[in-house]
């Protein structure tokens, strides 16, 4: 009875993680993370450097093999599958350092993102819409390598949008960008969320976390040490310990 209930819950949630573990030699980077993200929810993952956030993303996306644990995407188990198969199942991600296709244009970067998903004939139209949403139409013919750091972040998010995924992992999408780029990014995230996508967001910018995240998960030493709303997390002693190493 209990197992049936659990399965029903899993089938309803776009992203479910169960006991994810990853060791690098003697170091445990992710130590049994459980997490469930509801539809259209934006969950922020915060924590000090080295707490396992990016490794967690790589495990979910299939870019690192996990030692233990299971992952469900839209109710379908994707544990152990290669990255390309997990992507086709509906997961999209950005990287901490923008991973663009440097030697092709901005427009072609967006087109390349659509090759495995959606209606290919409509891809040029969708690329145009995406560039307008992200206000990068004026650099459509520029090589990706010619963009500023902020524009590169926007383009990477644009590639995610082109895929129309159900779950999006954003790894520091607004780190170090101009406030105007940050505003464009925030609006775009809200728009994509409203159209039905679910987000898991690694972010160090607490203002951004406060603005867009419905829930926050705090990681330290590979574990989830706290979970809740922004205000709950801000007052949490475990969180303060994780960040400052002592109680304040």
């Amino acid at each position: 009875m209990h197992a049936d209930t659990a399965r029903q819950t899993i089938s309803r949630s776009p992203l479910v993680l169960e006991g994810l573990v990853k060791n690098f030699g003697g170091v445990t980077a992710v130590a049994g993370v459980d997490l469930e993200v509801a539809s259209r929810e934006v969950v922020g993952v915060i924590g000090p450097n080295g707490s396992g956030k990016s490794t967690l993303f790589n495990l979910i996306a299939g870019m690192l093999p996990m030692d233990e644990g299971r992952v469900w995407l839209d109710g379908k188990e994707v544990t152990g599958q290669p990255a390309w198969r997990i992507a086709r199942a509906g997961l999209a991600r950005t990287f901490q350092i923008p991973s663009l296709f440097d030697n092709i244009s901005v427009h072609d970067n967006l087109m390349a993102a659509a090759v495995e998903s959606g209606d290919w004939k409509r891809a040029p139209h969708r690329a145009k819409e995406t560039m307008e949403m992200l206000e990068i139409s004026h650099v459509a013919d520029n090589l990706a390598s010619e963009l500023s750091g902020g524009q590169q972040k926007l383009l990477e998010f644009g590639r995610v949008c082109m895929r129309d995924p159900s779950v999006i992992l954003l790894d520091e999408a607004t780190a170090g960008v101009h406030p105007n780029i940050r505003r464009i990014m925030l609006e775009a995230i809200r728009r994509v969320r409203d159209s039905g996508a679910t987000f898991l967001v690694i972010e160090h910018d607490m203002e951004m976390v406060r603005e867009i995240c419905d829930r926050i998960v705090v990681m330290d030493a590979g574990q989830v040490v706290a979970e809740g709303s922004f205000d709950e997390i801000a007052d949490n002693i475990e969180v303060q310990k994780a960040y400052l190493g002592r109680q304040v």
């Binding site: 992507a87 086709r88 072609d108 010619e146």
Partner: protein, 323 residues
């Protein structure tokens, strides 16, 4: 902006048309020796185009393409022997099939390797295949294999012309106008990001390798019938791949028409040295010097000097960093 683009496109179409007309009527205006040189240019342009699919579009440096050239040459050579007597044209698809099959089998494991490991693996494969050709009876071993002579330079000129044109137009369409091209360029520029977009990178790389091998084999078949005598060194020697690589780098890595430009310039230099100095090894240090000059001064190749040539210099650097 629009009229500028249209004008540029019109100039391109006009230049292509004029070029085609010149190529079509050329045999009526040049002596047989010059025609043979131009036939060679067409063959090398086609080979450079084939290598560019893997080296320029997928970003993997193959030093094993001479093996596919040799496969095409030997399939045609063996099948056209008197006891089998298969017509030349019928041998072409068989050569392609064998090369594509071998490339798929080799590509499966080797295209999971990166950088220098892939280059070394393909080089070792080509060397191995050349040694096999040396010891087998069916290939004639080091004594080589003679094919029935067909002494019609016009036939070989037009065959090379048609096949080279088809190779370039097919490559242009496939790599610049279809999903396959986007997949290939994506994995070249950032393989993990390409996978994160759902691209099955290993499969796409093997497809590109097989396509490239098929085209290379086709030119090997035509070459064998053209020169009427082949041996392992002449159709599987490493110089064949070396020339393909240098031609692509010289013309413009990862561009559609750059390899044709590189092949034209390099093959004319090759023939000039040969006619002036005879069969000398001086060509090899010249090849090395050309590579060094391109890396230092012309990372985007000769094509970047033409109007509308590619800007930026990332591809050459990316490829070299992989080694």
């Amino acid at each position: 902006m629009v009229s500028k683009l249209s004008r540029s496109r019109f100039s391109g179409v006009l230049a292509s048309f004029v070029g085609l007309v010149i190529l079509a009527v050329l045999p009526g205006f040049v002596d047989p020796y010059s025609l043979r040189i131009v036939t060679g240019v067409l063959m090398w342009a086609g080979l450079a185009c084939a290598w560019n699919i893997v080296g320029g579009y997928a970003g993997y440096i193959s030093f094993g393409h001479s093996a596919f050239f040799g496969i095409g040459a030997y399939v045609t050579g063996i099948l056209m022997q008197r006891d089998l007597g298969i017509p030349f044209l019928a041998t072409l698809p068989l050569g392609i099939l064998v090369a594509v099959g071998v490339a798929a089998a080799i590509g499966g494991p080797t295209m999971r390797l990166r950088g220098a490991y892939f280059a070394i693996a393909t080089w070792a494969f080509a060397e191995m295949l050349m040694q096999v050709a040396i010891i087998l009876d069916i290939t004639g071993g080091t004594a080589g294999l003679s094919l029935p002579a067909y002494l019609n330079e016009f036939f070989f000129y037009y065959t090379m012309l048609v096949v080279a044109l088809l190779a370039y137009l097919g490559t242009w369409y496939l790599l610049e106008r279809t999903r396959f091209g986007f997949r290939l360029k994506a994995l070249r520029d950032h393989e993990p990001a390409a996978e994160a977009m759902g691209i099955h990178t290993t499969l796409v790389k093997v497809q590109a390798f097989a396509l490239s091998a098929g085209i290379t084999s086709l030119f090997g078949s035509i070459y064998a019938y053209w020169v009427t005598f082949i041996d392992p060194r002449s159709v599987m020697g490493p110089e064949i791949t070396d020339q393909m690589v240098v031609m692509v780098l010289l013309g413009g890595l990862g561009t559609v028409w750059g390899p044709a430009l590189g092949a034209t310039v390099l093959w004319l230099i090759n023939r000039y040295i040969w006619s002036e100095l005879g069969d000398t090894t001086i060509y090899l240090p010249i090849l090395g010097l050309i590579i060094a000059m391109i890396v230092l001064f012309l990372p985007n190749g000769l094509i970047s000097l033409l109007p509308g040539g590619r800007r930026g210099g990332g591809l050459m650097g990316r490829l070299l960093r992989k080694l």
